[in-house]
């Protein structure tokens, strides 16, 4: 978990705290969900929607595919360690939203901990330290033991159906 002084590496893309979630938007008219947020015009070609609710996306999903970065990515990527330490990446399918969302994989996990279809959960962890020495955080996908992505008991996903904590976002 990120420490108390940590701030997200990008504004308004995810919540922090005990149950962090990605923040997207949902077209009020057709229900299409967008991540990153779309707040101007609905991109469903059959929809004229211009109003969107902010929604927290499901915190759990299933791995669509995965890889890792064995070599340090070029700037603007900021490596956290010197020498560089590889990290894993996963594309995760969120059933309720019908989205596949990219993310790094949580610290301590690599490609050997992943398979297509395996359940993962969203966490927030440090991404890099900025010029002022402050920790900047990012969402990551953490592998879950067993079949944790279901909709049964213990699934704390908020789903696309519930407006986010910050409420409705009006049209521009």
């Amino acid at each position: 978990m990120a420490n108390g002084n940590a701030t997200p590496a990008v504004d308004g893309w995810f919540t922090t705290g005990d149950r962090p979630a990605l923040l997207g938007t949902r077209c009020v008219q057709c229900g299409t969900v967008f991540f990153p947020r779309e707040s101007s015009f609905c991109r469903n070609p059959g929809c004229a929607g211009e109003r969107f609710d902010e929604v927290e996306l499901s915190r759990r999903g299933r791995v669509w595919s995965y890889t890792d970065a064995r070599y340090q990515p070029p700037p603007p990527y900021i490596a956290r360690t010197d020498p560089y330490e590889p990290f894993a990446l996963a594309a995760v399918e969120l059933e309720a939203e019908g989205l596949v969302v990219m993310g790094q994989v949580a610290d301590g996990f690599g490609v050997d901990d992943l398979t297509v279809g395996a359940p993962v959960e969203l966490v927030v962890e440090p991404l890099y330290t900025d010029d002022d020495g402050a920790t900047r955080t990012i969402w990551r996908w953490r592998p879950l033991a067993g079949d944790g992505a279901g909709t049964g008991a213990g699934d704390d996903s908020s789903g696309a159906g519930s407006p986010g904590a910050t409420g409705e976002e009006g049209s521009r």
């Binding site: 967008f34 064995r70 989205l99």
Partner: protein, 395 residues
């Protein structure tokens, strides 16, 4: 009514790391293509340039730059940008002007000089640019996207690292005799698998390099080719379709797919739809093509293309490469030029280079890599920002 135009000339500058300005490769290729066509620069009424690529976005002016470097001849100019599919969009622009009766002779040129290593985004703080953000927030390079597709083949279809390596071995062999290829050296299966992993499961030798290069194509109206007695191939299709919402495959440089919450996905994926549109336009099907030039940004991606262009059903591509079906001499050779594996990518030139190879194959002059009796060829290509292209040429 036929939408054919005549493909009368092709030319290339060899791929490499030459370190010269892009227009020098373009002019070399253009002169070669005009000589190949038996036409003079003064015959050209339209020059379409494939825009150079800088940090994922359109770079230097191209059409006018080539026209000036060739010596202003009063021709009209146009410039096209579609990332990796740039060359095909330039071709499409030329074809459209010819079909509209607005000109008879068009020269299409693409050329670039490309930096070493990972293709990187623009400098500065660009929080509104997805191509910048994917590096800052995810460290997501182009090979990482290719690796996602490769891993799915493994987990869903049982592909192996050796299957991917087979594609490289095949393409390396194909490119041996190609005078325009940058890498002309046999590669062994073990060499590919022993090369360092860049983005699991892809090894360094599974991923294409970046190169300098230039390619050019001369198109004319069918009537003009006939009246001048030019030996012509038929440009049957140039598909430049964008995806259909919702696009459910994650693509460079995106963080997520479109949502299927409100609209169910189409029957065809975006990559499937690219070749499908070309076949429909040409009135041909996968069974009619003698060869294919597909965008092997990675070895595994070449396998995806086998399925996307209809050479086999999903999950069967590994069988094709194992059986040698896609090797020159096999059922339907893929990347007889050696592909990106032997060229490395010179972005705005690459889709035109694919067309050049198809032309040489159809004329029966692809020495050392000739597909015997080739009657029709298809190219397929996809790049950043939802750009795809597929071109069909026949005798």
């Amino acid at each position: 009514m036929s939408n054919d135009v005549a493909l009368v000339g092709v030319g290339m500058h060899p791929w490499g790391k030459w370190g010269r300005p892009f227009q020098s490769y373009g002019v070399h290729a253009a002169r070669a293509a005009l000589a190949d066509a038996g036409l003079d620069w003064s015959d050209v009424q339209l020059v379409v340039g494939g825009e150079t690529v800088r940090n994922g976005y359109a770079g230097y002016v191209a059409g006018a730059t080539f026209a000036q470097a060739l010596g202003w001849n009063g021709a009209r100019v146009a410039t096209a940008y579609a990332a990796c599919a740039t060359g095909a969009q330039a071709l499409d622009t030329a074809r459209a002007r010819i079909l509209a009766g607005m000109c008879d002779v068009a020269l299409v040129v693409g050329a670039d000089t490309t930096p070493k290593g990972f293709l990187a985004p623009n400098a500065g703080e660009r929080y509104d640019d997805p191509d910048w953000l994917r590096f800052r927030l995810l460290g997501m390079t182009n090979p990482a996207y290719f690796a996602l597709y490769a891993r799915r083949r493994m987990d869903l279809y049982g592909a192996t690292a050796a299957d991917f390596a087979r594609v490289k071995v095949k393409n390396a062999r194909h490119g041996l005799a190609n005078p325009y290829a940058r890498y002309r050296k046999e590669v062994a299966l073990d060499e590919v698998m022993a090369s360092p992993v860049v983005a699991d499961p892809l090894h360094l030798l599974d991923i294409c390099a970046t190169s300098d290069g230039g390619a050019a194509v001369v198109l004319t109206s069918s009537e003009f080719a006939r009246s001048r007695g030019l030996p012509a191939l038929r440009l049957r299709a140039v598909a430049t379709v964008a995806p259909t919402f919702p696009n459910t495959v994650i693509e460079m440089p995106n963080f997520a797919t479109d949502s299927t919450a409100a609209v169910a996905p189409a029957d065809l994926t975006f990559r499937d739809s690219i070749a499908h549109a070309a076949y429909e336009e040409a009135g041909l099907g996968p069974e009619d093509v003698s060869l294919a030039e597909v965008y092997d940004l990675s070895t595994a991606l070449e396998l995806d293309w086998y399925e996307n262009i209809g050479l086999c059903k999903p999950g069967e591509a590994e069988q094709l490469v194992r059986a040698g079906d896609t090797t020159v001499g096999g059922r339907v050779p893929v990347n007889p030029s050696g592909g990106l594996a032997c060229f490395g990518e010179a972005v705005p030139a690459q889709a035109l280079a694919q067309v050049c190879e198809v032309a040489w194959q159809l004329r029966g002059v692809a020495e050392g890599r000739q597909v015997e009796g080739a009657q029709a060829g298809i190219t397929a290509n996809q790049g950043l920002f939802g750009h795809g292209s597929s071109v069909i040429v026949s005798v």
